[in-house]
Structures are given as C-alpha cells and as structure tokens.
Amino acid sequence: MGRFHEQNDRGLLMRDVAVHEVGAGDLEIWLEKQRKFGVAATHRTFRLASEEVVEIRRFSPP
C-alpha cells in the first residue's frame, strides 16, 4: 500500500509504501489498521515488475 506514482513498461512505481508480508496475519485486519492509523511506510520508493501486478485498488475515499 502506498502512493501510486506511475505504471509503465518498467513496472509499477509507488512511494511511501507499506508491505503486508505473506504470513504476517490477516490482510483485512492489516488494511483496517492502515486505514485508521495511517500507512506505516517502510519503503520510500517501491517498484514492482509488471508481471507481478495483479490488481491496483484505490484505497483513499472517492
């Protein structure tokens, strides 16, 4: 979870990213915690290869 910056042939680039690691507990509970207390960013910049991007979901309210 983080601030979407851009998506191109080099992949997805995000800023101020928090990562829910596999095995780190329930994803929905983790998301709710981020929603309430703010994104606990651990990566200033985070790039994900295009083939690893499954879905981009807007977290902020409309």
Binding site: R3, F37, G38, V39, A41, F59, S60, P61, P62
Partner: protein, 140 residues
C-alpha cells in the same frame, strides 16, 4: 529544510484567518494540548500543493459548519519542526502525515484525517468528511 518564510506566510494566513490559532513552539503546543478539555482540532499544515492545496479550502468550508470543535489549532509541518513534532506526540498512535487533521475530545483522538484521505480529493469532499466528524464528536 524549511521553505522561505515569504512563500509559506500565505499558507499560514489561509488557515489563521479562519480563526485557527497557530502553534509555533513546543510551549505553544503544550500550553493548549497538555491540559485538554472539550474538543480540540489540530490541522497539520503543509506546503504540499497536491494535498494541502485542497485541505485548506476544505478546512475553511468545514469550519462554516454550525457544529465545530471548541478550539482549533494549527502547526506547520516542515516549517515549525519542534512544534509539529510535539503536536504529533499528542496523537502518537497515528502515522505522521501532512496535511492531516486530528480531532481530540478531552485529550483522546476521536477522528483523524490522513493525507491519503486528502490527496486527490476536492475541498467539498474533504469538508464533508470533516463536517461529519464535527457533527459526530463536537455536539455538546
């Protein structure tokens, strides 16, 4: 590194002209938040154009609500570093972000608007969320 004060001054004024008291020192912050009573709002101001540019007008609209916090304060992130850090210590469970809005009741955080709830939204949407929070928590 703080920006030139000449650039920041209009951003401060955009908030203080709403009747929001600016807290520029640790003593200022402690003077109002250390002994809380009733509802207090803290607006963490920012130079960030993509978020604060909508947050300040959103705050302006929200403060026209008939129900609002008993006291409203502002600190300026990136400018008044010590005051901002001290203010954040009063809502330390929440990740620091700017701009942001904390609403406290008797010293407890009852609502928090993060930057992610501000960036990419317009003043009307931001104001609507703040008004809802005021209505929920600031009625006497």
């Amino acid at each position: 590194m703080p920006y030139d004060e000449r650039m920041v001054a209009p951003m401060r004024a955009e908030v203080t002209r709403l009747g929001v008291q600016e807290l520029r020192t640790v003593a200022d912050v402690d003077g109002v938040l250390a002994n809380p009573a009733g509802t207090q709002m803290v607006f963490v101001n920012s130079v960030c154009g993509c978020a604060a540019g909508a947050a300040r007008p959103g705050l302006s609209l929200a403060l026209q609500n008939p129900v609002k916090p008993a006291a409203s304060y502002t600190v300026f992130a990136g400018q008044d570093l010590d005051a901002t850090a001290r203010a954040r210590s009063y809502f330390a469970d929440y990740q620091p972000s700017s701009p942001s809005v904390a609403l406290l009741k008797d010293g407890e955080v009852v609502y928090f608007m993060h930057r992610y709830q501000i960036e990419g939204r317009g003043p009307d949407a931001i104001a609507a969320d703040l008004r809802a929070a005021f209505d929920a928590h600031c009625k006497s």
